[in-house]
């Protein structure tokens, strides 16, 4: 077996309460790494088209990669893959915490959970004894994710669902420690299996090809990270909420259900404001991460809890016209404890408020008014009253009540908190990402709106190229599996020190903007490992990984996801943005929204797809994507 892998897949059947260990396939690991890539390959091969995402035939796949268990900083994530009940297409989400580490210590690369249990069940996996115990979970059913993990105890690493997952809220997530695999409804699939929790233990040691080089390099890198302006400073000091004032100034902060991109009082939900008003502590919440981007806040009745991320602060804050951090903290805690994706939750609440404002729905919710929101969040998680409808997300809500023009989703997945009208590459990424409208499948906005060296976000230059390169990279990173924030470290601190008003800054961005094919060519070079994830993979597996290798692996994964979606009937017609994003302007110098129609053909061409967005056979052959 290639070093870095435990070499085993654990296949569990909840229906027959049986399990089997199988060998990991080396060739698949070479082609898809692990994590999301390997998981997608398995999903494609194990299931026919058209299965019910909440039925027994949808497998729930927990997948680690070769970096997990290596103690490399930020290598704490696992991927969850299944058919999404929210989008009907590929479902995938990544999660920090400690579960990935636990799986690897148990000698398991991938856990497949098939079928459904008739009654609430939980699994205890002991990797040293090669045992799986099926335990009754009736006593835990109905408990929040925090109480559940407390009850399960400290000696093992857990992945659990809360009431939202149990009740199959279509955007329910799976929680490990205080982190959540939030997107695409993976928690609803776990709930449909009546699987409350998976706990894992083991003491196996991961074998690396060159432990000494790995150790020396990682020691050096930790120092570099500590002095990096983002990884060592900004994320640690302000958390991800430190970006609020930046997106607000850029006019891309979702406000009033994305009607506007700016809120006059946004600063009140920023990381800087939190630091001065109510921050209780700084914490990682993810094992082996020196960055520690998590916040700790106090919530009445709950005590010290993990604070909100940027997405949550924006979408449960200005997007609802709320800028009182006490509410945002409380709703964030509720979302985490009930086990649901706070992005989809915030967008769904904003949509309900706009429906109410337009007289299309009586929800008892209003922009700028916190009254009833906490109760509604509880109702959503328990599918009570109108909460039962909001639990299905904005796409289905708009099919029932109207308002499709301002239903903020792509492919059924609610949009993240970067308004694409002021960030064109991000818009292309939202439109084309296989799991739907999400920002962490590329984070293109960093190069045009939020990072230290940004090109013009509203010109057409490079706006098809950046998403392709970034989506490929993100697919590879989600298959190693590393935290996507590791990519922030790729821009050296010298660049962060550049004054955007300087001639040098303008000259660099001028040439970057015009670098088109050269930029893609450079990223595809297979010369030598440069970044830490390339080096780590090389030291761990003994195979050489370069930027070009990762682009190729990522492109393969992205195309396989695409083929999965096409098999489910989700094609080019779904590569779009909400009407509001395409046709309503938030910038006084423009009279329309995002110019997707001008960018999509170029994007397809670069991808090697036909004009309908279908991968050409020669593209699939080049990438060895078997369908």
């Amino acid at each position: 077996m290639i070093k870095g892998y435990a070499g085993r897949i654990l296949d569990v059947d909840l229906g027959s309460r049986s399990f089997a260990f199988q060998p990991l396939d080396e060739n698949t690991a070479r082609l898809y790494l692990g994590g999301k890539g390997y998981g997608t390959r398995l999903l494609y091969d194990l299931t026919p088209a058209g299965i019910d995402p909440l039925g027994p035939e949808n497998p729930l796949i927990f997948a680690t990669g070769p970096l997990n268990g290596s103690l490399a900083p930020q290598s704490n994530r696992f991927a969850v893959v299944c058919k999404s009940p929210l989008t009907g297409g590929i479902g995938s989400a990544a999660c920090g915490g400690s579960f990935a580490f636990g799986l690897k210590k148990a000698g398991i690369d991938i856990l497949i959970v098939r079928n459904q249990s008739a009654t609430p069940v939980r699994l205890e996996i002991d990797g040293d004894r090669d045992s799986v115990t099926f335990l009754d979970a009736t006593d835990l059913w109905g408990q929040g994710t925090r109480a559940t993990q407390e009850a399960l105890g400290k000696g093992r690493n857990h992945a659990v669902i809360g009431p939202a997952g149990e009740n199959q809220v279509l955007y329910a997530g799976i929680v490990s420690d205080e982190r959540i695999a939030g997107r695409t409804g993976v928690g609803a699939v776990m709930g449909s299996k009546r699987l409350k929790a998976v706990s894992v233990t083991g003491t196996r040691k991961l074998e690396l090809e060159d432990q000494e080089k790995f150790n020396d390099y990682t020691k050096w890198l930790r120092k570099l990270f500590r002095s990096h302006p983002v990884l060592g400073e900004k994320l640690r000091r302000y958390g991800t909420m430190g970006i609020v004032n930046t997106t607000n100034a850029r006019n891309i902060l979702p406000t009033r259900n994305f009607k506007y991109g700016h809120h006059d009082d946004a600063m009140s939900v920023s990381g800087e404001y939190l630091e001065d008003h109510g921050l209780v502590g700084v914490k990682s919440s993810c094992i082996h991460c020196p960055v520690a981007c998590g916040r700790e806040v106090a919530v009445e009745g709950a005590g010290r809890v993990k604070g909100p991320e940027y997405e949550t602060a924006a979408l449960l804050g200005p997007n609802l016209e709320i800028t009182d951090l006490r509410w945002v903290n409380e709703w964030n805690f509720l979302a985490d404890d009930l086990g649901m994706d706070s992005i989809s939750l915030g967008v769904t609440l904003g949509f309900a408020m706009e429906l109410q404002e337009r007289g299309l729905l009586q929800a008892g919710l209003a922009f700028g008014d916190a009254t009833g929101v906490s109760d509604m969040i509880q109702d959503i998680a328990h599918r009570r009253g109108l909460g039962n409808e909001l639990a299905d997300g904005v796409k289905r809500m708009s099919e029932r009540h109207g308002g499709a023009a301002f239903a903020m989703h792509v492919k059924g997945l609610e949009l993240s908190a970067y308004d694409p009208r002021g960030s064109y590459a991000q818009g292309v990424e939202y439109a084309t990402t296989n799991r739907g409208g999400c920002h962490v499948q590329g984070a293109s906005m960093y190069f045009e709106s939020t990072g230290p060296l940004t090109i013009d976000p509203q010109s057409l230059r490079l706006k098809a190229e950046i998403p392709v390169v970034q989506q490929n990279l993100a697919c590879a990173i989600n298959s190693m599996v590393l935290c996507i924030f590791t990519t922030y470290g790729m821009i050296p601190k010298q660049v962060h020190a550049l004054d955007p008003k300087s001639r040098l800054y303008r000259t660099i961005t001028y040439f970057f903007e015009r670098s088109g094919p050269l930029y893609r060519l450079l990223m595809r070079l297979k010369l030598a490992p440069v970044t830490w994830f390339e080096k780590w993979l090389t030291y761990i597996t003994g195979q050489t990984f370069t930027s070009g290798h990762l682009q190729e692996i990522g492109e393969r994964i992205f195309n396989l996801e695409r083929m999965y979606n096409l098999r489910e009937g989700i094609g080019g017609a779904e590569d779009t943005l909400p009407h509001r994003m395409l046709h309503e302007s938030t910038f006084p110098h423009l009279d329309s929204g995002h110019p997707l129609d001008q960018l999509l053909p170029r994007y397809y061409e670069i991808r090697g797809w036909d004009p309908q967005g279908v991968p050409l056979q020669r593209t699939l052959d080049r990438l060895q994507v078997r369908t």
């Binding site: 970006i243 004032n245 006019n251 800087e272 940027y310 922030y488 004054d499 955007p500 008003k501």
Partner: protein, 87 residues
């Protein structure tokens, strides 16, 4: 109508105000000067806090659209922008 100047958190903390309202239609250069003036004898603090910031007019980086000497329009919003990373 006036120009609204939105400050970064650090600038706002130093001045005790999140935004400034400037009457008339000053140029960006004047916005910089007028904001710096608010710092009085602490002008060096303003220079330090704006060393790696961009100027943004209505959400668009100013160097792309505005000369420092072209008057702004009434109702424009000028923001000091700092790069950040979130997720």
């Amino acid at each position: 109508m006036s120009i609204t100047v939105e400050l970064t958190y650090d600038l706002a903390k130093a001045l005790g105000s999140r935004r400034l309202e400037l009457e008339g239609t000053p140029t960006l250069r004047q916005v910089l000067t007028l904001t710096r003036d608010r710092f009085g004898a602490e002008g060096a603090a303003f220079d330090r806090l704006t060393r790696v910031t961009a100027l943004v007019v209505n959400g668009v980086i100013a160097s792309r659209t505005h000369s420092l000497d072209i008057p702004l329009q009434a109702g424009d919003r000028v923001s000091f922008l700092k790069a950040a990373a979130g997720g």
